[in-house]
Amino acid sequence: MRPAKLLLGLGAALCALTSFAQAEEPVRGGNVTFLMSPAPQILTSAITTAGAEQVVSSKISDSLFTYDYDLNPKPLLAEGFSVSDDGLRVTINLRKGVKWHDGKEFTSEDVAFTTMDVWKVLHGRGRTIFGNVTAVETPDPYTAIFVLSKPSPGMLKSLAAQQAQILPAHLYKGTDIPTNPANLKPIGTGPFKFVSFAPGDNLVLERNPDYWDKGKPYLDKLIFRFIPDPATRASAIESGEAQIAPQNLVPMADLERLAATGEFDITTKGYEFQNEMEMIEFNLDDPVMKDKRVRQAIAHAIDRDWIVENIFFGYGKPAETPLHQQLTEMFDSSGVPQYAFDPEKAKALLDEAGYKPDANGIRLKLTVDPLPYGEHQASIAAYMREAFRAVGIDLTVRAQDFAGFVKRVYTDRDFQFTVNLLTGGSDPTIGTQRTFWSQSFKPGVGFSNGSHYVNPEMDKLLETAASEMDPAKRKAEYHDFQKLAMEDLPVFPLVAVESVTIASKRLKNHTVDANGTYSNFANVYLTPAE
């Protein structure tokens, strides 16, 4: 048995220590309004990767673990876990006496059912995270054993509420899961119970009196308001009608102003599970993009510091490798080819590639497809149109809505390069691998290897690292991955985005670990207004 238990014990102590540090006595009671947009369509995240559903369902159903800032698992529904020597059997010891909101007992049967019939089948990312799980044994109601075909260290990093919400087997077994009514009237194990849901307007949750962690949650009610307009959201926060807005829902331009009022605290912590990256995906099947020199010229023509400063207001860092800087365990840019902002080099590369400027200085015409989600990609594309003009590239920005984008890029393959927002996730196998792994390329499948990059060497590198047990070796393998990726440049990472949460100073403990606002808010409390 690995000394994991010991590790876990240390983690628990550490966690107790930190909460002790806050000497303040938590205040009981009060309602908190939580801003969210777009509005969730259903209230369970077990079958979707949409952000809104994840934030909401994490308050209703607890997950096995939650993770500290360094992504070490902390106990929640699972008290601990141990991994067999060959890494093929992961045993999870469940907490006793946990009840579903309808009073039924939470058992290993629920874990087995959700893994095998829900995550592996209907959850977009779950299919890769739990790809190697062949079965889930339930020797007793409080022990679940994941039987793996290959070791998957990445899996242990993703048993948090975002990717792994456990559904009540007694309600879902044998039903058509996507249209099960419980999706709209969820029964969970979490600190808050479902009260009412007005689609497109609000969702109301109230305190779960018999939550397993006695005495919690502190809040009486947790109200979600779905406000589509960014300016109205900013007004809701400023007027005090809402107490918290995660995930850049309040425009970055307003953060400076709101911070100055001193009534809000603004944090970029709590998104270690996201690790979102703004990236350019080059379509390697396109004759022009096939030429690496053109891709490198484009890379040199972009001033990423300008983008971070003026489009992200400093909330982010210029990306140096396809991995997010927050993935401290894996990120290593030493020895990795870098593409500094150097228009002259870009022009030289274009000359080399045979694109000479014509009469009015245009070397070639290109089209970019920014991802229509939020306003950052469109702004980056607009910036690029001007930056490329300096090196003789006449860039056209093509606008379409989400469905049009997905069909054009991933089904019709009718694009030259995109400005895309890709979620890295807490482990390279979750978010980054699918962009570089040739196996993940399938026309029609969104956000997977958009550039159709096929490099056997890269495949081998990724496949070994995916099931590498030894952390040091895994780090070295991913370091080679970062070097190769930046050398071949199928994708040019622009910005390691830092998502921002803004909350009233009176709201305490809203971001205490890597899950941040995706945690279950059991420890959150609201100090009375002065």
Partner: protein, 274 residues
Amino acid sequence: MLRRVLLSPAGFVGLLLLLMIVGMALSAGYFFPKGPWALVARPYQWPGQRPGLPFGTDSLGRDILAAIFYGARVSLIVGLVATVCALAVGITVGSLAGYFGRGVDAVLMRITDAFQTIPGFLFAIVLVSILSPSVTNIVIAIAVVSWPPVARLTRAEVLRVRETEYVQSCKIIGMSTPRIILTQVLPNSLSPVIVVAAVLVATAIITEAGLSFLGLGDPNVMSWGTLINVGRPSIRSTWFICVLPGLFVVMTVLALNLLGDAINDALNPHFRKR
């Protein structure tokens, strides 16, 4: 007629404002040779914060005044072209329905009704997302949405004019139907349509601004709507990015409406002297 329009205060102010806007559109190239897209300075500069940038810069550091000058060009073109298309379709449908009546009228009018029962703005949204947001598609969407009222108005006028003696006498002397419609019926039924034309241009500009506000504007074309869309996320702090182009939308629509009123008064003066 022009003299009477200029005489009335509304007409004068309207014409003046419109000439100013048109002047801006024409002189955009001259004042801002670098075009509206150049990144001239640090973004989010307040108007007057830097010399040479009276209207400040937008979220990417583009000169807002340049954007407004070029925006005038696009917004006016969108307004005019959409209106011309709407008038063309509307007048054709209206005159055919009005003149021939019975079957033709019933069919054409039901189609007009269908277009009018679908909420215009919503229909424009669906159209633009189908054809993808480009200027031409926005113009088509606006035209498709605004021709029904023109058709309805033309039909009413044609019905009235068709009954007049001078049209009957044309029929008697055997003038061909198309000639009757073109030379007799239409010229006499178009005066109210002209008045509506001015308002149609105004509505087209507002619709374009609305579509852009919802993110359906054409990113490669700098119209006032594009600028409003760029400024929308930061409207709470740097509100001038949205408000400045908005003001120009207001001014143009005001000018067009005042002009429309003046033309209307000039055409049927009977209650001017009250």
